[in-house]
Amino acid sequence: MYDIVNGLINTTFGWNWPGWVIALISHLLVTTLLFAIAPFQMLFLTYYERRAIARMQDRIGPNRVGPAGLLQPIADGVKMFTKEDIVPAAADRWVHFLAPCVVVAPTMLMFAVLPWGPGMVPVDLNVGLLFFFAISSISAVGLLMAGLASSNKFALLGAMRAVAQMVSYEIPAVLSLLAVVMLTGTLSIVQLIEAQAGLFISSADVPGVPDLGLGWFIFTPVGLLAFIVFFIAALAEGERTPFDIPEADSEIVAGYMTEYSGMKFGLFYLAQYVLNFLLCAIAAVIFFGGWQGPGVGWLYDRAISPANPDGNWVFNLLAGFLGVFYLLAKTYAFFFVMVWLRGAFPRLRVDQLMDFGWKFLIPLTLVNIVSAAIWVALLRWGPEQGITFTQNWTPILRWGVAFAVTLAVNIVAYIALARIFAASQAEQGRIDLDEYRDTLTATLR
């Protein structure tokens, strides 16, 4: 955006404004754009979810407002705006007021590092991935504020559940991404995407494969397991079924949102759906190549870019459109999976959720990091790191061996850990009654 604005102002008009003004203008423009996009994503996602889940339940879903019910979210939004904003008498007014803001702000900030297409990233932070998760963890504070300020037991329970869940599931999420970071050696999201060019084989590992934009990490065993773990963790972070415990309506009414109404409630809703969108998008970016796809690379090679300043802007446009299309298609596909899971699964209990995160997912990600290390060692390392036996292998052979080894490691680890986890779960409910015998005898007398 900086380049465009700079080109427009300083080159086309010849005004020669200082750089910081242009930077400010371009950042403001991007921010405005994103702030406009985010609520519309939320509106569309609510409609999308309701339609999809209705189909799964042999229903039609909202179909009255507008063509095929498309304006239903607008109507809901109008309803939200016109509702009375109620603050409980016993509530901590300021904290109650600030909580939705604290929840929404981080989700908006997370847009800052999300690349939409080739060369279309608001900020290319070199620690973008970490930034994404660091910022997302802030919203936990907002949830806790909401729960504490509402002075409602259900809200408090919901907030505690939500925060415990978010904090616990951040660990498997980040650890699963660590495996991918090991594969690429960078924390920059843009570079992560660029590493996923190629054809089913990351072009970083086997040089010379044709660039069809299909070198996604999901096609490696490490990436596959990381994706599964990450998606599960994302479900928990985004409070989706089967991990929608913080707002389990059958148990604790609406969780931390119980005492909110009107647009404050709407903000929580907004934050949640935007967060879901972002989690889906980041899953698409990291494991499914983001905007990578057949044709984007070819188009972008002919476009104006830092590497190729003499390109044609038409290709910029085309590559941008195709890239955004790929990204959104993948994102909505993931969101569909989220909806699908919501339609198919009951929810876990809160202690089971914790057990699942800590006792199953985290060990699994640790194993996955080991297999990522194996992958890197087999593919990239040579005699200088002390790996000599792969010296004479062709890249394809190396790739094949690494694939086989990591696949075996991951499958064995998955089955073994699942068995152990199931056994521990079965064991957990059991208690040794004889320990209590004396106490009970005393109680009875």
Binding site: D58, V253, F345
Partner: protein, 422 residues
Amino acid sequence: MNTGKLAFPMPLPAGVGTPSAPGGLEGQTSQEKPVRISVRRSRVDGCSTKDPAMFKTEELQINIGPQHPSTHGVFRMLVTVDGETIIDLKPVFGYLHRNHEQIAEQNTYLQNMPYTDRLDYFNSMANNQAYAMAVEKLAGIEVPERAEYIRVLMVELTRILNHAGALGFLINDMGMWQTQLAFGMREREKILDLFEMASGARMMCNYFRFGGVVRDLPPEFMPKLKELLVAMPAFVDELERLLRENEILMQRAEGIGILPKELALAYSVTGPVLRGSGVPYDIRKAEPYSVYDRFDFDVPVGSVGDVYDRFLVRIEEMRQSKRIIEQIVEQLPDARGGHINPRARQNVRPPVGDAYARIESPKGELGFYLVSDGSPRPYRYKVRAPSFINLTPLGDMCRGYKVADVVVILGSIDIVMGEVDR
């Protein structure tokens, strides 16, 4: 009156005696204080803090209900929790009390029939049957064979629709967003269409009369019923595939809300809850009323007595009901008599006396106790509502489990507040 005596005509499994028998279980119900045990045990010596109050947690009282999404009506549970573990639970009900029994004593016998629909609004046909049977017993009215077949058909359809709904609500309480409920409702709607064809109403059927049913099945009923019988196994199989081996459901249901069979008998729960606890007690078998002795069907029982067992027992009961309906479809054309005893009158005036009739309603034993003083209105009218009786062990069943389990246990009991509060 000898109705308090329960007969167990079926061989009981080892260790299960008559209701009040073994183990000195008398009075071992919720009156006693729950056993709370704290075992002080130091695993790492020197590490334990000496101050016991340091880790003392505070008990929290939560009102679940009466305005709560998953209390199945206006029902309140006063829950005392320690963290998320339930220490004590008190069911509070009466919010839906409508004075049913008193109203019934002001009405004539026939006028009460539509009121019984409103008891358990999911199973109006079953309620009708129990009441009609009680009045017929009291007034000595014969029911023609065909009418009996129609009645059994309706009640078995009711059982299927009740279980389809109950399982859907149970799964909904577990957090599966109404998917199974929507599937169950789809089947329920089909059955309700049949009810509407026969009786004119979907839920408040008011179909039974003393001496039969109000009108014969319309000609389009049987073809539709046969179509439904094609869909029914597919529905149940799909339900099993969707949920039976679902790991999350198993985690949520297995070992939760265990009601041991001795205690189940002591609490005098009935229906799928009792059978889920492993007691093969089914009035259709124990004391075959109507024409139930002419059908082959099995009695599914559970082995542990937890939510999962109740879930499975209900699935199996839907299969057995379908089996009964198939037999009815076969036998109905040969049944003698019309749809109603032509001599049965609208205004019954039974002789002085009393009668108790009970049926195996989808939720358990539904009984009507009537006392007649010779007038056209019942002198005393009493409903033995299965939802109400099955609710009594709720407090004890929930103790020691988590808050999230409460709604699941409540859902597995399958109550309808209209019947609990009456």
